[in-house]
Structure formats: structure tokens, C-alpha cells
């Protein structure tokens, strides 16, 4: 595996600012799908190690969105790892704060956070909390009070559009959050404000706190389309499909973009994929070595 951020082109100039660090704006040309899959594998390795150290965690959800996080942080997002607060950056809003394990892994792999700090995930006094707080570099909003992400992402999109620097906002939220009325308040408003620099990333993993999705929320993509979004639905663990959908979402045609990602909890580790679909996966201490072995055996 190459070092974090080594494949980013240097010297990109954006909005009058010359950036010499590793930062990119959805570069021209096709990305290497195998390279991005390699990044996703690396994120899964980080997450497994993080969950193992505390003996638990939201590993199922983290593994499910590892492919999306790799595509975002190593291809689509424009940001500067050396200056995570750069005002011209694309925003990644993680509404599901308990997916923090995936965000910490991506931020560390990208060089925003020290890799060694991943060891502190969930520990008392660590800034890599089980649920995100915005005081940690690279975190845009306090996630976890579900239903608060999309509206804030819309406000950011309106503000960034007025700034004129071309920055976009990517907002991850979950199928469970579609049961929060506030999500739909924001879904209704985004087309009204023509927020075409807003990309909703709806992680449909089929589980919520009480188990399999407890009240029907389908058809998800059709609902967003009916609200005026440019909506697509893909296999959320298919890297080529993710990259293609993100490329489609670059269109600035006046409509906000929604990508509905069908993801598999525990993706990459068959034992976890097959385990009872649970919000909070329990792993017995003796299982970790075998799980790590499955992850390596499945590498592409």
C-alpha cells in the first residue's frame, strides 16, 4: 500500500489560491479503480484494528461505507490535508455520527489526522470519539442527532455557492434518517434553492437501532426524484459504480444530486456480512484474528 495522499497531484490552483500540498479537484481522466479499491481495503484494515482495540464498535456500518469513503477522500473531494479548515474545500458532512470509525480511518489515511492516533478510537480523552464532534479536524458538523445533517449541508451549499469558489457539499446520511421529518424538510428545500452543489449520499444498509429497518422508507430514489432531486441508485460497494455516480453528480444543472447507495453491513468480512443484521455488532475476543484473515483473503 502506498503512503497516504501520495497519488495526489501537486500544485493545483483554485480560486486564486495556489496549493502546493496534496489536494485535488475531481481530476480529469478516469481514476484507477484498483487503486481506489486498495484504499478501501486499507480503510477496512484500519477500522478492524480500531474496533478490535476496544472490543466492539460500529464496524458493520464502517465496513459498509468504506468504498464510498475511499472514492470521496482519494478521488472526488477537493481538500487540503495540511489545512483541513481551508475555506475553499469541499465539505463532507457525516450526519450519522456513529459512523465516525469510517471517517477517522479516511482522515488518517488521507493525512488529515496522524495514523498512529487511530489507536485511541473510543478511548477516554481521545478526540476520535465513537460519535463525531466538530472539534476534531476534518469534521464539519456534530453528527449523531440524526436528521440534522442534510439541512446543515444545504445551508453550507447555499453559502459556498455565493462564495463562487466552486466548492461542493457531500452529505452522507442513512436510510434510518429518512424517518426523521427534518430530513424531508431539507429534501424539499434543496431543489427550491437550486442547490446543485449539494450531493446527498444516502447509505441504505437496511438496519437501524432496533434492527432491520422498522418502518418502510422505500422507494428512496423515487422519493428524492419526486422532490426534484437528480437521483441515482447504485450498489454502494461497487467502486466503479460509485465513481461513475459521483462523476454524474458533478453536473451543475440547477438540481441537487442524490445517490442512493445500497450497502452491505460488514462488507469485506464474510462472517460479519452474514451475522445477524445488527446496529451494534458484538465480536467475541477470539474471533478477531479470523476476521482479519477473511479481510485479507478477500482482497481484490
Amino acid at each position: 500500500m502506498t503512503d497516504p495522499a501520495r497519488n495526489h497531484p501537486p500544485g493545483v490552483s483554485l480560486a486564486g489560491r495556489t496549493v502546493t500540498g496534496p489536494m485535488r479537484n475531481h481530476p480529469p481522466g478516469e481514476p484507477s479503480i484498483p487503486d481506489l479499491q486498495g484504499r478501501a481495503l486499507q480503510l477496512r484494515r484500519h477500522m478492524l484494528a480500531m474496533a478490535r482495540r476496544i472490543g466492539q464498535g460500529y464496524i458493520g456500518q464502517g465496513l459498509a461505507i468504506a468504498d464510498l469513503m475511499a472514492a470521496l477522500y482519494f478521488h472526488e473531494l477537493r481538500y487540503d490535508p495540511a489545512d483541513p479548515a481551508w475555506s475553499g474545500r469541499d465539505r463532507f458532512v457525516l450526519s450519522t455520527g456513529h459512523y465516525s470509525i469510517a471517517l477517522w480511518a479516511a482522515l488518517a489515511e488521507a493525512g488529515v489526522l496522524p495514523l498512529a492516533e487511530l489507536d485511541t478510537y473510543g478511548a477516554d480523552g481521545s478526540r476520535l470519539d465513537m460519535s463525531t464532534l466538530d472539534t476534531t479536524p476534518g469534521v464539519e458538523v456534530i453528527g449523531g442527532s440524526l436528521g440534522q445533517g442534510l439541512g446543515q449541508a444545504l445551508g453550507m451549499a447555499i453559502g459556498l455557492r455565493a462564495d463562487g469558489a466552486g466548492a461542493r457539499v457531500f452529505c452522507e446520511f442513512s436510510d434510518g434518517e429518512l424517518q426523521e421529518g427534518s430530513t424531508w424538510e431539507a429534501a424539499m428545500a434543496a431543489p427550491h434553492f437550486c442547490a446543485d452543489n449539494l450531493v446527498a449520499l444516502v447509505d441504505c444498509n437496511g438496519i437501524q437501532a432496533d434492527g432491520p429497518v422498522v418502518i418502510g422508507i422505500e422507494p428512496v430514489a423515487a422519493k428524492f426524484a419526486a422532490f426534484g432531486w437528480d437521483a441515482a441508485e447504485i450498489d454502494g460497494n461497487d467502486m466503479a459504480a460509485i465513481v461513475a455516480a459521483l462523476a454524474q453528480a458533478r453536473r451543475r444543472d440547477g438540481r441537487p444530486k442524490a445517490i442512493v447507495l445500497r450497502t452491505r453491513p460488514g462488507r469485506g468480512i464474510p462472517t460479519l456480512e452474514q451475522r445477524e443484521r445488527a446496529h451494534f455488532v458484538r465480536v467475541d475476543p477470539h474471533e478477531w484474528d479470523a476476521l482479519a484473515g477473511e479481510l485479507e483473503a478477500g482482497r481484490e
Binding site: V141, I142, G151, Q152, L154, G155, I158, G159, E185, A189
Partner: protein
């Protein structure tokens, strides 16, 4: 603007005490918008009824009406704030505090976002009933860490407090009187500052601690008491948070009895803040509380409701007499 205003060379000075000013919040916001290009305005289908239309008309590109969706109002405002804006949003106090509480707590206060929530129809200033009367809003907002909470007295203070709220780093909840708002405080002498109580009248017999529109009535009550030979202080506490405990404790230390006066439920309201301050300062004083009871209030004209529930100068003066009576005979 009104015949009560002081006549000046070019007409009527609407800033004169006794006059009134139309839409003081909207006027102040337009001026601030000129100075600060990062200022944006939002409302949730109540722009017309919260005096923010002058801002929309002056800066249409910087105004956003999100429709009847108060959670989204606060969320979008917080998102705008996170791109360097100062986001001023208006709705009624009941909707902001009851519908969007979690968004105010997390997206604004916990996130230290520059969102200023301007809340219409405070207490008994509407003829609608419990659906529209914000009677417990200040108590709720005061419980949220990191949120500044303001209940201005009049047009003069609304204009000053709007500026102070915009200049204050971080989130603010402020009550709004709309439309034709009376002028009680002298613009030339009053200086509002967040967290600073204002001693408007100094007298040693009874201390009246008042907030919001009740301060005008407290001043009238002090006048009535003076005619009976009773000297009253009036300490106007516009900022509920941060609360000027020193000013309240100092007032209590130099008066024999206290009265609180608020357009809000007394339980968990200004009365509670004052009682807590007295306890912490080790001071025991008779304390009479003018304000709303722990119940929802019916529909009715505002003069009728304010009379029935005791939000008048007469009720404040009576409370002062009771407090002094209770304090008589003590060392």
C-alpha cells in the same frame, strides 16, 4: 411617527421616550446588512410577521425563506454560519423553541455557530392561545449551554440588542416585539450590552428586577410608589444568559425587599434566576413574583390577558407593597 414623539425641526423624533418605532428590528438589521456583507437573513413563512421584510427588500440575494419548517430553518442557518456567515433567522418563539430545540442545542449552541434566532410573539403579546404564546421559551433557552438569551425592553433596546447579537460571537436567542414598538428607554442614555443589567431607577426601599416589556411597567410602578413615599429601584435584566448575578446581588444587598416582573412563567423564569442568585449570595429577602402561572393561557385580547394574568404596572406596584409588608419588622 406618533403624536407622542418630541417635535423636532424636521418633524417628529420617533426615538423620543413615549413615542414608538415601526419595525425596530428590521431597521437595525438593514443597517447592519450594509456594514456586514456576511450577514444573511432567514425566515420560516413568518417574514412578514417578524419585521424582517426590510432586510429581504434591501438584500434579496441574502435572504432565504425556507417555508413552514422550523427545524430546517435552524439547520440551514447553522450551515450558512459554518461557511462564515452571520445567520439571523426569524420565526415565532413557540416554534423556534418547541419544534427546533434539538437543532438550536446541537447545530447551533454545541457547534458555536453564529446563528441569531429572533423570536416573535413573546409571552402574552398575541391574542392566540397556548399555540402562539411563548411563555416558557426563555427558560428553555437558558438551559442550553453556550446560548446567549435576551428579552429586550422596547424599540430602543431592540435596535441596540440586534446589533449586539450580530456582533456577539456565537448563537443568540432574542425575543422580538414587532410592528409599532414603544420607546421606553432614552436612546441617548441607554447602552445595551449582552450580560449587563441596567439600573434604570435607584431607590432603597424595594428593588424591582424586570425584563422585556415588563420593564416599562416596572418604571410606571416605581413612579406610583414614589407618590406614596416608597423609593424603588428598577434593575432591567434584558440578558437572561449570561445573567448579571452581581447586579442582582448588589441590588438585593441595598434594598429591603425584591419584586421580579416578567412576561414569562415565573417557574423556571426570571424569578427562579433571581432566587438562585439570592441563595448563592447568602441573602434572604422577601421576594414577590409578577409573571405567568404554570398553565397554558386562553385566547383573548392582549390588554385583557395582561390584566387577567397580572402583567401591568398596577400589579407590579401591588407586589412591591406586599414584599415591603412581608419585610416589615425584620431586623
Amino acid at each position: 411617527m406618533t403624536s407622542a414623539g418630541r417635535t423636532v425641526a424636521m418633524g417628529v423624533d420617533e426615538h423620543a421616550v413615549g413615542a414608538s418605532i415601526e419595525a425596530p428590528f428590521g431597521r437595525a438589521l438593514v443597517e447592519l446588512g450594509r456594514e456586514r456583507p456576511e450577514l444573511v437573513g432567514l425566515s420560516a413563512d413568518l417574514a412578514k410577521y417578524t419585521d424582517i421584510l426590510p432586510f429581504r427588500d434591501a438584500y434579496p440575494d441574502r435572504f432565504f425563506n425556507v417555508g413552514m419548517a422550523e427545524q430546517n430553518l435552524i439547520a440551514v442557518a447553522a450551515g450558512l454560519a459554518k461557511t462564515g456567515r452571520i445567520a439571523v433567522c426569524t420565526t415565532y418563539g413557540v416554534f423556534a423553541t418547541r419544534r427546533a430545540y434539538d437543532f438550536i442545542a446541537i447545530a447551533c449552541a454545541h457547534s458555536r455557530a453564529d446563528v441569531k434566532i429572533m423570536a416573535g410573539l413573546p409571552g402574552l403579546t398575541t391574542g392566540y392561545g397556548g399555540t402562539h404564546q411563548a411563555i416558557e421559551d426563555l427558560g428553555l433557552m437558558t438551559l442550553i449551554p453556550g446560548l446567549a438569551v435576551i428579552d429586550p425592553c422596547d424599540a430602543t433596546e431592540i435596535m441596540q440588542a440586534t446589533r449586539a447579537a450580530v456582533e456577539h460571537p456565537g448563537p443568540v436567542y432574542m425575543r422580538l416585539q414587532r410592528g409599532q414598538v414603544p420607546v421606553v428607554l432614552d436612546r441617548a442614555r441607554h447602552r445595551f450590552a449582552i450580560g449587563k443589567a441596567a439600573l434604570l431607577r435607584d431607590g432603597g426601599d424595594v428593588g424591582i428586577v424586570s425584563t422585556g416589556l415588563m420593564t416599562g411597567r416596572a418604571l410606571e410602578a416605581a413612579d406610583a410608589l414614589a407618590q406614596e413615599g416608597v423609593t424603588a429601584s428598577v434593575l432591567h435584566v434584558a440578558t437572561w444568559k449570561p445573567f448579571d448575578r452581581e447586579a442582582v446581588a448588589s441590588l438585593a444587598a441595598r434594598t429591603r425587599a425584591l419584586v421580579t416582573a416578567e412576561n414569562h412563567v415565573v417557574r423556571g423564569g426570571l424569578a427562579s434566576l433571581v432566587a438562585e442568585t439570592l441563595f448563592d449570595a447568602g441573602l434572604q429577602r422577601p421576594l414577590e413574583r409578577v409573571g405567568l402561572p404554570d398553565r397554558f393561557i386562553e385566547c383573548g385580547s392582549t390588554p385583557f390577558l395582561q390584566e387577567k394574568y397580572g402583567l401591568t404596572a398596577r400589579h407590579v406596584a401591588e407586589a412591591a407593597r406586599r414584599a415591603l409588608g412581608a419585610g416589615r419588622g425584620k431586623p
